[in-house]
Amino acid sequence: MADGGGVPAAVGHGVLQPADGCAFGDREWAFTFANYAQALTNPTYATLLWKSLKLAFWVTVWCVILGFPCAYILARMIKGRAREVLFLLVILPFWSNALVRVFSWAIVLRGNGVLDRAVNAISPWEVDLNLMFSDTAMVIGLVHSYLPYVILTTYLSLQAIDDTVIEAARSLGARFPRILWRLILPLAMPGLIAGAVLVFVPVVGSFMEPRLLGGRVGTTYGTLIEDQFVAVFNWPLGAALSFILLAVVLVILAAASPALRKATS
């Protein structure tokens, strides 16, 4: 199925370390857990992993909060061609380069940037709006990058709900909030969860948005891994860090799965 070869080979990266620490070349390969030991004992890594998990949590929460109503409106309140066009418009921004998009966000968010100028143009008093190089900028950039996943997967579930079910509930006297909570939300759950996973999982390892938008506070577990690959070329350690990340993500998904299964059944 998906990617049979890549992942096991990468696991090997972390464990089978060439004797002199280089990832390539005609060198002796030796089995070692030293990379994992180093990765697990360094407090810096734990700090950054926790920070990345928190970041991914908040990005996921924002994506769900913003994405669910959007998917609901698209699936249940808009009909015909308009819906078709909107469906496509949601994903179209992502047919562009992520780095270019992040640089564009920088132009929007920085002091004296697009947002600052726009707000000052309509605000009666002077506002100094510089969101650049902050947690806020990171979250905005990441939510933007991943929101369409939640919108589209949730849309797919919502759109499949049979109108007659909702009509029936309504005719029995249920009010909208109750229908939403007891009927629509549970039926939308598979899509919502799929979307949340597609957001949470990659955001934990994200490095580009944090690096370029987060500035001084933008050091994450993802940038740490990137450094091992790009700056020092300690690929075995980079691979070990990646697999610790993967393990943590899988543990979180496994821990959540009973709740998720209950929600989707």
């Binding site: 199925m1 998906a2 990617d3 070869g5 890549g6 992942v7 080979a9 990266h13 109503p69 959007c70 409106i73 309140m77 808009i78 061609r81 078709e84 066009v85 909107l86 496509l88 418009l89 949601v90 994903i91 179209l92 921004p93 992502f94 047919w95 562009s96 380069n97 270019v100 998009r101 640089f103 564009s104 966000w105 132009i107 929007v108 004296n112 940037g113 697009v114 100028r117 933007h144 929101l147 369409p148 589209l152 997967t153 849309y155 797919l156 579930s157 759109q159 499949a160 049979d162 598979p190 899509g191 999982v201 390892g205 490095f207 990137e226 690959f229 980079g238 697999f243 993967l246 899988l250």
Partner: protein
């Protein structure tokens, strides 16, 4: 009706959010400043330079056709895999489903190097076939997760009904299952295109020198940096995609019918 007006306004705000950087990207392609500096001064310089820059044009074209090929392959394979996962119980199914997530979670740097080693190991080596295979592997989970989310809402009674009326399995697939899955498949294909089109690391590791895709060109310009020519080519691609999509929306229904 107030509810509808409110809903439309909300949708509008989300679209503004999604398109803010895209609009900025397009505007900056027409800004004279190489450093994206404000205030805006109109200039078509970047487009003029783009049209004489064979390297960027060739890379853009290569990115587009690779993304189309990847979207087609990943969507076909992904849809078939999803239907298998969704319909049948078989040993190891849980494991296979769990294995869908690592390709998303593992940083692409690792996947890229692992693929390089793997492709050399099995004798495929570097080159466009390897790039396409690598992209398909990365795009597949997105297709499967998306189509699977859609199939969760399928009423199996429909399939039973069709079958009890004497429909052959293929007819059932064509007339009952695929129409229901269609919006998910379309969404999956769009994701697959996006994943491939923006994929840097795998292309970087697996492409032959001189066969750069657009993301490779952009990222390897890290030391010198890129110019607004990149904005210009990105803007053109978005505009063409938009035109194609609007046409597609005119002649096909894929948002799903109720």
């Amino acid at each position: 009706m107030i509810r509808h007006a409110f809903a439309r306004a909300y949708l509008g705000l989300i679209l503004i959010f999604l398109y803010a950087p895209i609009v900025v990207m397009a505007v900056m392609s027409l800004n004279a400043s190489e450093f994206y500096a404000l205030p805006f001064r109109f200039s078509t310089e970047w487009y003029e330079r783009l049209f004489t820059n064979d390297e960027i044009l060739a890379a853009a074209w290569r990115s587009v056709w690779i993304a189309i090929v990847v979207a087609v392959i990943a969507t076909c394979l992904g849809t078939m895999a999803t239907l298998a996962l969704w319909r049948h119980e078989f040993p190891g199914k849980r494991l296979l489903q769990a294995l869908l997530f690592p390709p998303i979670a593992v940083p692409w740097l690792i996947t890229g190097t692992a693929m390089l080693i793997f492709f050399f190991g099995v004798g495929i080596g570097r080159g466009t076939p390897a790039v396409i295979l690598g992209h398909v592997a990365l795009a597949l989970p997105y297709v499967i997760v998306t189509v699977f989310a859609r199939m969760q809402s399928f009423d199996r009674a429909l399939e039973e009904a069709a079958r009890s009326l004497g429909a052959q399995p293929l007819t059932v697939a064509r007339k009952v299952i695929l129409p229901h899955a269609a919006p998910g498949i379309i969404a999956g294909a769009l994701f697959a295109f996006a994943v491939s089109f923006d994929q840097f690391v795998v292309s970087y590791f697996l492409a032959e020198p001189g066969d750069s895709t657009l993301p490779v060109l952009i990222y390897s310009a890290i030391r010198k940096g890129f110019t607004p020519e990149i904005n210009a080519v990105s803007t053109l691609i978005i505009l063409v995609s938009m035109a194609v999509m609007v046409l597609a929306a005119r002649y096909a229904k894929f948002g799903g019918t109720r």
